[in-house]
């Protein structure tokens, strides 16, 4: 057996093998932790924007039947951002697994830790307005970002099912206004009996969300008018 140790030591000397510096290991560990932290941060941003976009749809502001609520709830999920969040959670899991002590935790525990971190940080980022700022930035800088990611374009672009959104073209009277919907079609909206949320400004050029139904003659009879920017339930409410 002594032969083996002699051989190994001879080889170390002959090949001038040197131990790798401690800093190299520290750097490697730090890099893995940094990647993990970045994944959690990006996942949190994804989750924060998901919450923000979901809130914009105002699904929770409406009084709905259970079936309609479930249908609307599903439509209001910002799929792209939720998928991105899930991807970051998964990559975060992979990162965590490759940390020095990552193997000590079960898959379930690592996912639970990641999901909790993403949810908590995501809620904080949404509360302090980061999600809104980022969403505005993406809207301004990425072509057709809003149409493809914002669930309002799905939820409030179904006039036959009672959900309409668009820009006010003109206000005919105390009862009728005209809007151009998200696809450019013009509608006459009867808002005489509508519940207009307090944060809604009925001015030309303002974009609004309308719940109601199509009446004979193609007029859209509004029952609820909500602000395009959502959070109708947080604002002071008034009846028109």
């Amino acid at each position: 057996m002594a032969k083996i140790s002699n051989e190994i030591l001879k080889r170390i000397e002959k090949e001038n093998i040197k131990p790798i510096g401690r800093w190299s290991f520290i750097l490697k560990d730090s890099f893995i932790w940094l990647l993990f932290a970045l994944n959690i941060l990006f996942g949190s941003i994804g989750f924060a924007i998901s919450i923000y976009l979901f809130e914009l749809s105002d699904v929770l502001s409406l009084i709905l039947s259970v079936n309609e609520f479930i249908q609307l709830f599903i439509l209001a999920i910002p799929v792209i951002w939720v998928l991105l969040t899930l991807i970051f959670i998964f990559v975060g899991y992979m990162n965590f697994k490759y940390t020095k002590s990552g193997y000590k935790y079960s898959v379930f525990r690592i996912f639970l830790i990641n999901i909790l971190l993403v949810i908590i940080l995501g809620i904080v980022l949404n509360r302090i307005g980061i999600s809104e700022k980022l969403n505005t930035f993406f809207t301004n800088n990425i072509q057709s970002y809003q149409e493809s990611t914002d669930p309002r374009y799905t939820v409030w672009n179904r006039p036959t099912e009672g959900y309409l959104a668009g820009d006010i073209l003109f206000i005919k009277s105390e009862e009728i206004l005209s809007i151009k919907d998200l696809e450019g079609k013009e509608w006459s909206v009867d808002y005489s009996e509508a519940y207009v949320r307090g944060s809604v400004r009925l001015d030309i050029g303002v974009r609004i969300k309308i719940r109601g139904s199509i009446e004979d003659g193609g007029i859209f009879k509004a029952t609820d008018i909500l602000p395009w920017d959502g959070r109708g339930r947080h604002m002071q409410q008034k009846y028109h």
């Binding site: 057996m1 002594a2 083996i4 140790s5 051989e7 190994i8 030591l9 080889r11 170390i12 000397e13 001038n16 093998i17 040197k18 131990p19 790798i20 510096g21 401690r22 190299s24 290991f25 020095k100 193997y103 000590k104 935790y105 079960s106």
Partner: protein, 174 residues
């Protein structure tokens, strides 16, 4: 690299070479010569990475981990040429105060046990070898195989059951 460092490293080699050689042979079923080649690589890797050793963990687990990795890469390279060796003494170190299943292991004889261990899936084989032949604790096995304590426990329990089934089916003198 100083003479002093190398002498310290000689002490590490002397302390672990027998144990690691036996471990490599047990998990790979290879000849002593092949196992010695792997062992040499293990000690060279350990020397290169000595600064990466974290003193929160046991040194034994750390160096066994390197041996495990070397064994895995040897298997990858030489997947189809694993051969049985006849000069292993793999049953010298069995614990005597364990459960009935462990007593079961104690009674097993060399050649048949090796054959049965070979039939066992590697994911069960290695935790069993570490536990019953290397006398490792669960946390040390977790550190060597880089799996959670829960996984170690379930692999050992399932491994023992599978081993028992194989013994009942193929063991003649056990």
């Amino acid at each position: 690299m100083t003479i002093k460092d190398l002498n310290a490293y000689r002490y590490i080699i002397d302390r672990y070479e027998k144990r690691l050689l036996r471990y490599i042979q047990r998990i790979l079923f290879i000849s002593k010569e092949d196992a010695e080649d792997i062992l040499q690589e293990v000690f060279i890797k350990a020397y290169k990475n000595i600064n990466g050793y974290d003193s929160r963990y046991s040194f034994s687990s750390w160096i066994y981990r390197i041996a495990h990795n070397e064994a895995v890469s040897f298997l990858r390279k030489k997947r189809n040429s694993i051969e049985s060796s006849n000069d292993m003494e793999i049953f010298d170190n069995l614990p005597s105060d364990e459960s009935i299943e462990d007593d079961f292991l104690i009674k097993l004889r060399d050649k048949e046990v090796r054959e049965i261990l070979k039939m066992l899936e590697p994911k069960y084989r290695e935790p069993l070898i570490l536990r019953y032949f290397e006398d490792m604790e669960y946390n040390e096995i977790s550190d060597i195989l880089h799996i959670s304590l829960g996984s170690v426990s379930s692999l050992i329990n399932r491994g023992k059951k599978k081993f028992k089934v194989l013994v009942e089916r193929y063991g003649k003198n056990i």
